[in-house]
Symmetry: C2
Subunit: 421 residues, 2 copies
């Protein structure tokens, strides 16, 4: 693989190379939204490119999809359409591109803006949202803390990708700040719950895939074909109030402890852009049922990290993990989700669950990093954290790198604001 040379400057270590070309939606001028991609520090307006005729010799009608406030219609055009757009972008923004002078000037004056001059918005209307629980290290850690340390992994866990439905309405884009939630919690030793702001607010480092093709009720997606239904990935911060969770979650699962806000990166990186970073997943033992069997490299080597920024702007990286650790892969997740005939839609979001690695520095939540608050983390400013404080800013980052080629997600950030009175 030869690294593509871009005509737009790409700073060293930029996530946004010519190999990446992720998709998002920006408010390009106040009140005007458009589908965009990014190269280096420049955001590129796809609606304007389309109007300039860049995509006109393709079989797809991009005219009515790039001017929407979400990418759903574009995603729904299908993988061939996404390929066409990425290929054309790689052609016209190559360093040695043969672009007509007038067109070149028009592109550069109208379609390209520094990323600091636009506001990225929620890239997709989330039609349904499911959260899996697919990291064996995370499930083991949680099982050890909350259930039986000797039988940390529950009997069903190695047989199926455990998952649950979550709230679509409260999934918001990076940069949206979230108030600490109020709720019921049961103090240690008490029999009656108390009410107030959560005292154990946590992040969960996750990735989520966006579905790009719908099925009908009763249809099943086979594991071997599942990637045909997947458009791309986002970073996903599944904010969690641990004290609310432990009081509410038996027997029907997490609810208000999760649905007060989840944060996604503004950029969806396509499956195609992540192709070079495929890798094998962990060995699955016992063997899975036939409908869950997959072959080949179905995991992705994506470096992940979480930083807590304090009000003095110190950045404290508290977790370094990798998406390759996932025990259950995305094909298995989608095959399982539809084995009963559950229908999926373009715009559905499927999150991985917390992505913890094997060593303690790779645990994907404060719950695990501080072992339920028993091992606080000391930050650069000398303060300690068991969980997340008001005014802390959480930043998640993710990127793949191989043979000098980098493809990344940028940042997924949110600041925790005090509980509303």
């Amino acid at each position: 693989m030869t690294k593509l040379q871009s005509g737009i400057e790409i700073p060293e270590n930029s996530d946004f190379t010519l190999e990446n070309l992720p998709f998002g939606v920006a408010e390009v001028i106040p009140g005007k939204f458009a589908a965009v991609t990014r190269i280096g520090n420049q955001v590129i307006d796809l609606e304007i490119l389309e109007k300039l005729g860049i995509f006109s010799d393709s079989a797809f009608d991009f005219n009515s999809v790039f001017n929407k406030q979400v990418l759903n219609d574009f995603i729904n055009l299908g993988k061939q359409a996404h390929k066409v757009v990425r290929k054309r972008l790689q052609e016209i923004f190559a360093r040695d591109a043969q672009v007509d002078k007038k067109l070149f000037a028009a592109i550069h004056s109208a379609a390209i803006k520094p990323f600091t001059e636009v506001r990225m918005v929620m890239p997709v209307h989330v039609t349904d949202y499911t959260d899996f629980y697919s990291s064996i290290e995370h499930a083991t850690n949680v099982g050890m803390m909350f259930r039986d340390p000797k039988n940390a992994i529950l009997p069903n866990w190695r047989h199926l990708p455990v998952g649950y439905h979550g709230r679509a309405s409260s999934i918001v884009v990076s940069g949206t700040n979230i108030h600490r939630p109020l709720g019921q919690t049961l103090p240690a030793g008490a029999e009656i719950p108390v009410f107030g702001p959560s005292k154990m607010l946590d992040f969960e480092l996750e990735m989520a895939f966006v579905v790009g093709k719908s099925t009908g009720l009763g249809d099943r997606v086979k594991a071997e074909n599942a990637e045909d239904y997947i458009f791309g990935f986002l970073l996903f911060n599944d904010l969690s109030a641990r004290d609310i969770q432990s009081w509410e979650y038996v027997p029907l699962g997490p609810f208000l402890s999760k649905n007060f806000g989840s944060v996604v990166s503004p950029w969806i990186v396509t499956l195609e852009a992540l192709e070079p970073f495929r890798t094998e997943g962990p060995v699955q033992d016992p063997e899975v049922l036939p409908y869950l069997k997959t072959e080949g490299k179905r995991n992705f080597d994506i470096n992940l990290e979480v930083a807590i920024k304090t009000s003095n702007n110190d950045e404290n990286v508290v977790c370094r993990s990798n998406f390759r650790h996932m025990y259950w892969n995305i094909c298995q997740q989608l095959a399982h989700h539809t084995i009963n005939g559950c229908n999926i839609n373009t715009g559905d979001l499927y999150a991985s669950g917390t992505i913890s690695g094997p060593d303690p520095g790779s645990y994907g939540s404060m719950l695990e990093l501080t072992w339920r608050g028993t091992k606080p983390i000391t930050l650069k400013d000398g303060t300690e954290r068991k969980f997340i404080n008001d005014l802390d800013t959480l930043s998640m980052r993710g990127f793949s790198e191989k043979d000098g080629i980098r493809v990344g997600f940028g940042e997924c950030i949110t600041q925790i604001l005090p509980a509303k009175p």
Copy 2:
């Protein structure tokens, strides 16, 4: 309250009186959808009434909402708009209505059709779906069967309306048939799951309310104002595969055991139409936290029943229950759901959970009616049921009646088809 006299014939025991006027969407001619209401056995096309000028002296623009494939836009106009429509319908369809002769002829020739001549479709685009667990009799029965009979009710249950997120995509309208789901189950005594069609397919008798007003992330709906956010009610059949459920649900709740299909009635009965049938709920002990306190009559006296129709067309009523039994009321459910700032949207659906009453004939699921299959029910044709067989048709009905006035939901039906190979 004096019973309204209709100019359209209303058969005895019809759910569709002039006091009811529920809302739905019908395919009125092939390929053409319109918002409709129903009086007796006649479906009334609201789009045509609007075009005939029936609603023209109101402050609302109904022009762009009655021609949609779902009611969301109409619902979003707000309660005042719904009142205007209901009031005008009661005026023009009153027995002694003073309607211009030409207009009368136009209405009757163009806007009115027998209900058998239209196809009712899903009345609302479901934006998010939550299922509560708010019947104390149901929670007690389940707790006795699956957990500790002496501590059937879990510690959190009387302090908060337990609920969980469900799947929006697979909620379908009455008349849609559902294939028996495939899935993993753990046979008694086994350690390794098996794969195949569910052997314990069940219904759950529920009602669901439709939200009619959105909030922003971080907002809370107070219990005392919650009804301002509620448009109306549907019948809701929360189909459940008990064997899949018991294997998958720990620790994150029901998932594939529920999301293969849930069925709603085509008619949404407004909160306004149900006003005369308000009643007190059960006494809540211990006292609930302040944010969950409500005053006055917040429950509704709605008679509910479930019948199993066998292939010889026998109808076997297996359950007679009532919505008034709910321990947690709809205001408490919505106040709880938003206490953490979770945002709600017009089109959200909130189901009650199984509505069981105190006596065994009022249990709202086969699981409870046959006590986990230990007490099979004998049907009219001599066959036994522990759960639901292939080709059984499930029919749910609900109506309120007081002072000779009846308001009902019609039928919510679905046939269980064999598992797809």
